[in-house]
């Protein structure tokens, strides 16, 4: 019976090489098994800290990506019209000379005429530095489209972030609340974590209009209406405050809850934190020798909300040097807020030394969220969540945080040197992502979530959300965006950073945007990731100015990384009516594949696949650390390209050398990195001893974080599976923001510059600085027409508002005309991957549908499988409907980025991706409707510039032939003219 030819011991590979996956942004460790010179298979590296040996569908299908027929094979020069996809192949020398000529001319004339934008790559440590050397302020990556609301809200609030800079305490949390997360980065660590939670019996709650993916295994699904998460979180806060279920000790130890906020309407410092002469924040505190019992004997104060004035409070003042002063035996003294062993007061109105009033920031937060606006009864209908459910979930959060608190027998030392025998944990964790981020209210919604976490005492305690090194950093981190050019033409700082006050904005003397995408302008002051989705439109419109060259890397901005995609594509090929030249004169594009954007390039620089190049997953960029270990990694070429392609990073260094960028030349003018990116990764120093890689530094490889370049560094990485790890010391695993054991360790690795406590910003003073400017204070003020907008949205206390499109253009987009919300997500097997044309993944699905609840379908006369029209004010698209009961009524959704444009990705002409697949992007305005004409306001979060693509509202229009297949797009103006 035995299988005659069955060989059970056949060697599976000639050689196994480790590297880092690039099939999405997760950056797992992989083992590439090579046989007969080809990739036999790829599996997860069991020793890798990110994925511990597991691998997702994308990772396993990397072999098909590597051998994809859509790979580019040689540099291309456009010979036909833009968009026609007609090219001739050229040699690399010609391609690089041409690119260097265009870029060199721009740099001579005005470096800002180069707009350099990259996709979801992990090379920002190089590309950002290169832009700085070039001297252009017009640089960013894909974050403005993706995650900046999460990053900015987190960084300005607690010096960390959801997204991929923190994680739930998978081993200890008892309650995980997922906000707007279906499948998200970092994908395999979350899946590993969910498996652990399930095994331990922790409760998982998914708050999401759609239940798929992670939501499917959650204990409870809360089908919320899109964009109302901030209201729901506000109602949770309302309930916690109303029932006095908050961790006030945590708040005064780790946040600015007790910091006094100046109340002096009209003054230039109204709403700022009261400070002593040295700039230290002040608080009111009980006198040290005043016992609580004594207060109990005091007559009950007569108070009213909004005018609180405890009877036992008198004015007090503190000599700066004393740290603390008793004030005439009365109920409080003023103290430095960072003093220890004090008993800060969190409500009341206090008099400062100059006689002015001040209120603890906690009181302002409490007043905001105790107001009726955030009562469960007030938000229930809008959120689509029952009052009972809101109250119960709030109760569950409190019960888990306080009644099921955990205590670890782990001694630690706080930043003041006090030793603690144990670590107390609030085992409630939250994770949030795209569903929060992609709304125009996402920044404040995300901040509301962080306030909720802080009130529960649930940031970086055992069982709660945890920072991943190098975070926490000061809130906000200290690096500001570069503003001006030095004599050598380089920018005085990296193009992206965190503004701290209006003085840091990139605006001209009239307060107008200096960046092409209007990031860091009064329109979007905290645009920490740039605003990629505005680049093409603004360059086309000359708003605020025209550019010469658009240089893109793996950013499919001619397709799914754009809004109003049809018109965006037209803009790329539009000519100036007077000169006949293209309105965007030069477009250079680097991609490994024939993506939709390739057809619009004048010059195509073909990149390698991820298995053919060096790469660097740097701590200076997007780290892959987890909460217990700092980590960075490399990619190494495991196979040689069989085409005439070059790694983009090498090409960028080559181009920079050709045009003489200062950092790329030796003093004698010769090339500094003739060995390309591999040499740069090892030898480049950002500051003395600090390079892209933190591991095995120093001449002998013995140093971590700091140390001179080590010529053997890459070899050491390869010997260790291409990854470096440094474990957080046991005593430093929690309370990282105020833990001396952690902060000393972090400082030794260069993650923070001091071991001072990082104070979480319950009240965000930075926002108030912008609001004050809008109110007429300070040297840098917004133009008249921006004042109202800045004043409204720069509220130091988080609040909820409906999307800006609705608020600003009530006459333009009537809610009743477009009664449904439409959102997108990506399936797990394609999340963050750059090509559903993958031969295996497209067998799982090669097209998308419009999913809707049968109730929504019934109300609109739609049958399962009908082709219908989905209409927004901008356009309508013909799509096939499919029922999905686990979708909130009133919400429609689809898988994003499966629909492709005909001709791209080397698919057959009748591929379902072209015929039936679709993008919702065609329906999404890139501008606010009232601003179709210049100057345009982006359809984006007014604080951060985050693209508001989840704010899309639509209606269903029936098709006379609902059984006839076929996707089509009709722009509104086309329809009007018909």
């Amino acid at each position: 019976m035995a299988h005659a030819s069955l060989a059970l011991n056949k060697p599976t590979a000639d050689e196994v090489k480790t590297t880092t996956c690039y099939m999405c942004a997760c950056r797992c460790g992989i083992r590439v098994h090579l046989k007969d010179g080809r990739v036999r298979y790829i599996d997860g590296n069991p020793k890798h800290p990110v994925n511990r040996g597991v691998i997702c569908a994308k990772g396993s299908s990397g072999i098909k990506q590597h051998y994809s027929p859509a790979r580019l094979s040689k540099p291309l020069l456009r010979i036909g019209e833009r968009g026609a996809g007609e090219f001739r192949e050229i040699e690399w020398d010609e391609a690089l000379e041409l690119a260097a000529k265009w870029l060199g001319d721009v740099r001579q004339r005005n470096p800002d005429e180069l707009a350099f934008f990259t996709g979801r790559d992990q090379s920002q440590a190089l590309t950002g530095w290169w832009a700085q050397q070039f001297g252009t302020i017009n640089y960013a990556a894909h974050g403005g489209f993706c995650s900046v609301n999460m990053a900015a809200a987190g960084m300005y609030t607690f010096g960390g972030s959801f997204w991929e800079f923190g994680e739930p305490d998978w081993d200890l949390t008892k309650y995980l609340m997922l906000w707007g997360v279906a499948e998200d980065h970092d994908s395999n660590p979350i899946k590993l974590g969910l498996g652990k939670l399930k095994a331990r019996g922790a409760k998982i709650v998914a708050i999401n209009p759609v239940r798929t993916g992670y939501g499917a295994i959650a204990d409870e699904w809360v089908p919320i209406n899109p964009g109302t998460d901030g209201l729901l979180a506000g109602a949770f806060i309302h309930e916690l405050l109303r029932n006095d279920r908050i961790d006030l000790d945590y708040l005064v130890r780790y946040t600015n809850a007790h910091h006094l906020v100046i109340r002096d309407p009209g003054a230039a410092d109204d709403g700022l934190i009261a400070r002593d002469a040295e700039g230290h924040a002040l608080c009111a505190t009980r006198p040290l020798n005043l016992k609580a019992e004594a207060l109990d004997d005091a007559p009950p104060p007569q108070l009213a909300l909004g005018a609180i004035r405890p009877a036992n409070v008198r004015s007090g003042i503190l000599p700066a040097q004393s740290g603390l002063r008793r004030d005439d035996g009365e109920g409080f003294v003023l103290s430095r807020a960072d003093a220890i062993d004090i008993s800060p007061l969190v409500v009341g109105e206090y008099r400062l030394a100059d006689g002015r009033k001040a209120i603890p920031s906690f009181q302002l937060i409490a007043q905001r969220f105790l107001s009726d606006e955030y009562a469960p009864e007030a938000v229930s209908e809008r959120c689509g969540v029952a009052v009972d459910t809101i109250q119960r979930l709030a109760r569950e959060l409190a019960e888990t945080a306080f009644d099921q608190a955990i205590t670890l027998d782990q001694a630690w030392t706080d930043t003041h040197g006090r030793e603690h025998a144990t670590m107390v944990g609030r085992p409630v964790a939250m994770h949030a992502m795209r569903g929060i981020s992609a709304h125009a209210n996402g920044f404040h919604t995300c901040r509301t979530l962080h306030v909720l976490q802080m009130l529960l005492g649930a940031i970086d305690t055992p069982g709660s959300f945890r920072y991943q090194p190098p975070y926490p950093k000061p809130a906000p981190p200290p690096n500001r965006p570069g503003k001006s050019r030095k004599d050598d033409g380089t920018l005085d700082g990296g193009p992206l950073g965190y503004v701290q006050s209006p003085a840091d904005l990139l605006v001209d003397a009239d307060g107008q945007p200096r960046r092409l995408d209007k990031a860091y302008s009064w329109q979007h002051p905290l645009a920490a990731h740039g605003i990629m989705q505005s680049v093409i439109r603004n360059a086309w419109a000359g708003d605020p100015y025209r550019i010469d060259t658009l240089f893109m890397f793996m950013a499919n901005m001619g397709w799914n990384s754009s809004m109003n995609t049809s018109e965006t594509r037209q803009m790329l090929r539009d000519r100036d009516t007077t000169t006949g030249e293209y309105r965007i004169p030069h477009i250079i594009y680097s991609d490994a594949y024939l993506s939709e954007t390739v057809a619009f390039a004048d010059l195509v620089l073909p990149d390698t696949t991820y298995l053919e190049r060096h790469d660097c997953i740097s701590m200076l960029d997007r780290p892959i650390s987890d909460a217990d270990c700092a980590a960075d990694a490399i990619r190494q070429p495991v196979v040689k390209p069989d085409r005439n392609v070059r790694p983009f990073q090498d090409v960028l260094i080559d181009l920079g050398t050709r045009i003489g960028l200062p950092g790329l030349l030796n003093e004698d003018g010769t090339a500094k990195y003739p060995g390309g990116f591999a040499q740069y990764m090892v030898e480049h120093e950002r500051a003395p001893g600090v390079g892209l890689l933190a591991g095995w530094r120093g001449a002998d490889g013995s140093k971590s974080g700091f140390g001179e370049p080590n010529p053997e560094q890459l070899k050491r990485y390869i010997d260790h599976g291409c990854v470096w790890e440094a474990r957080v010391p046991e005593a430093g695993r929690y309370y990282k923001m105020a833990n001396r054991d952690y902060l000393s360790w972090a400082k030794s690795l260069g993650f923070v510059s001091s071991t001072d406590a990082i104070v979480m910003q319950l009240y965000c003073e930075t926002l108030q600085r912008f609001r004050l400017a809008a109110q007429g204070h300070g040297a840098q003020q917004p133009p008249e027409n921006e004042r109202g907008r800045v004043e409204r949205y720069f509220d130091p206390i988080p609040f909820w508002y409906e999307g800006v499109a609705q608020a600003s253009a009530a006459d333009d987009v009537r809610r009743d005309d477009y009664p449904l919300s439409a959102i997108t997500q990506r399936p797990m097997f394609m999340y963050h991957s750059w090509g559903s044309q993958n031969a295996w993944l497209r067998q799982i699905t090669a097209r998308n549908y419009l999913y809707l609840n049968p109730q929504t379908a019934a109300a609109n006369g739609v049958g399962d499988g009908d082709w219908i029209w989905l209409a927004s004010p901008l356009a309508r698209i013909r799509v096939q409907a499919k029922f999905h009961s686990a979708t909130a009524p009133g919400t429609l959704w689809t898988w994003n980025a499966i629909g492709k444009h005909k001709g791209a990705w080397k698919l057959d002409a009748d591929a379902p991706e072209y015929q039936d697949g679709f993008l919702l992007n065609h329906l999404i305005n890139e501008l606010l409707p009232a601003h179709r004409n210049s100057p345009g306001y982006a359809n984006a979060d007014p604080v951060t510039g985050q693209a508001a693509w989840f704010d899309l509202r639509v209606r269903i229009e029936r098709d006379p032939l609902p059984q006839q297949d076929g996707h089509r797009i009709e722009m509104s103006d086309m329809r009007a003219s018909q």
């Binding site: 059970l8 599976t12 699905t845 499919k882 686990a886």
Partner: protein, 275 residues
């Protein structure tokens, strides 16, 4: 037509946790990748870049909304699936509500039955069950592509390759699990190694003391459609009871203070906090 070995003592198989499976397809693609280049490959694809891409997969994942008539969603053609009574609902139709349906992801592969009809119907002896561990395999050299086995299998585990003219199926990665050229830790089916939520487990279900047997006992693991009598070896672990709000008592919250009379902020005035 092909006889089975005597009942095997070792019963290698999979235990799949439906409580934890998020439907990510990692197992399916890892399986495809390993086996495409392995002893039982290739797993041919037809029309990989065309209008109807399809191919041989030893493992497929299906997603269901339990409680909805329209069955599987997400990957198949809508119209062919649109057969339920609520496929053309009216506002008066009785429809499932989001809260009362359950999303289930269901990975499907060969169950390595103890008495598999796919083997006994095989006219050539190509399909066989290994005496040493119970794995059901196809010897492609003997397979004539008659597809009787596919008709016999009620689980849809058999995959016919038109390109190769032979039947293919899950091998439990028999070319991995005994392969001494691999590290011992890697001698597991590719799907189990890949699974990111660790919802898949491999072991000897004939040994009551094995980890997988204990897991099945603990969690009430069940065999798929035992009524057919083929005695599947693989087991599925059912979704655990969900800790949703349905059991929650309506808690009577005592108002800590009468906020209509006094500011709720008052209670914090005298709170002694420590920094």
């Amino acid at each position: 037509m092909t006889s089975l070995p005597p009942p095997t003592a070792r019963k290698l198989g999979l235990v799949i946790d439906l409580d934890t499976c998020v439907g990510c397809h990692a197992c399916a693609v890892a399986c495809k990748e390993w086996n495409d280049g392995g002893s039982f490959g290739p797993l041919p694809d037809a029309d990989p870049y065309g209008s109807d891409p399809h191919g041989v997969w030893f493992n497929r994942v299906h997603s269901y909304e339990a409680g909805v008539g329209s069955g599987e969603w997400g990957v198949e053609n809508a119209r062919s699936e649109a057969t339920s009574s609520c496929s053309s609902p009216t506002p008066h139709s009785l429809l499932p509500t989001p809260a009362n349906v359950m999303s289930v992801h269901f990975p499907r592969s060969c169950l390595h039955c103890e008495t598999p009809a796919c083997v006994t119907v095989c006219p050539t002896g190509a399909s066989y069950k290994r005496a040493e561990d119970g794995i059901v395999l196809v010897d492609e050299d003997k397979c004539i592509g008659c597809q009787l086995c596919a008709w016999a299998c009620p689980y849809g585990a058999r995959e016919f390759s038109a390109k190769r003219g032979v039947m293919q199926k899950c091998t439990l990665c028999v070319d991995r699990i005994y392969n001494e050229t691999l590290d011992e830790a890697d001698r597991q089916p590719a799907c189990v190694m890949a699974c990111p939520t660790r919802a898949r487990h491999f072991g000897d279900l004939g040994d009551a003391g094995s980890d997988v047997s204990k897991l099945v006992a603990e969690r009430g693991g069940y065999a798929l459609m035992p009524e057919f009598g083929y005695k599947p070896v693989n087991r599925y672990l059912p979704p655990r009871p969900r800790k949703d709000g349905s059991a929650a008592k309506k808690a009577a919250i005592a108002e800590p203070i009468d906020t209509t009379q006094m500011s709720p902020l008052l209670r914090w005035v005298d709170r002694v906090l420590s920094r």
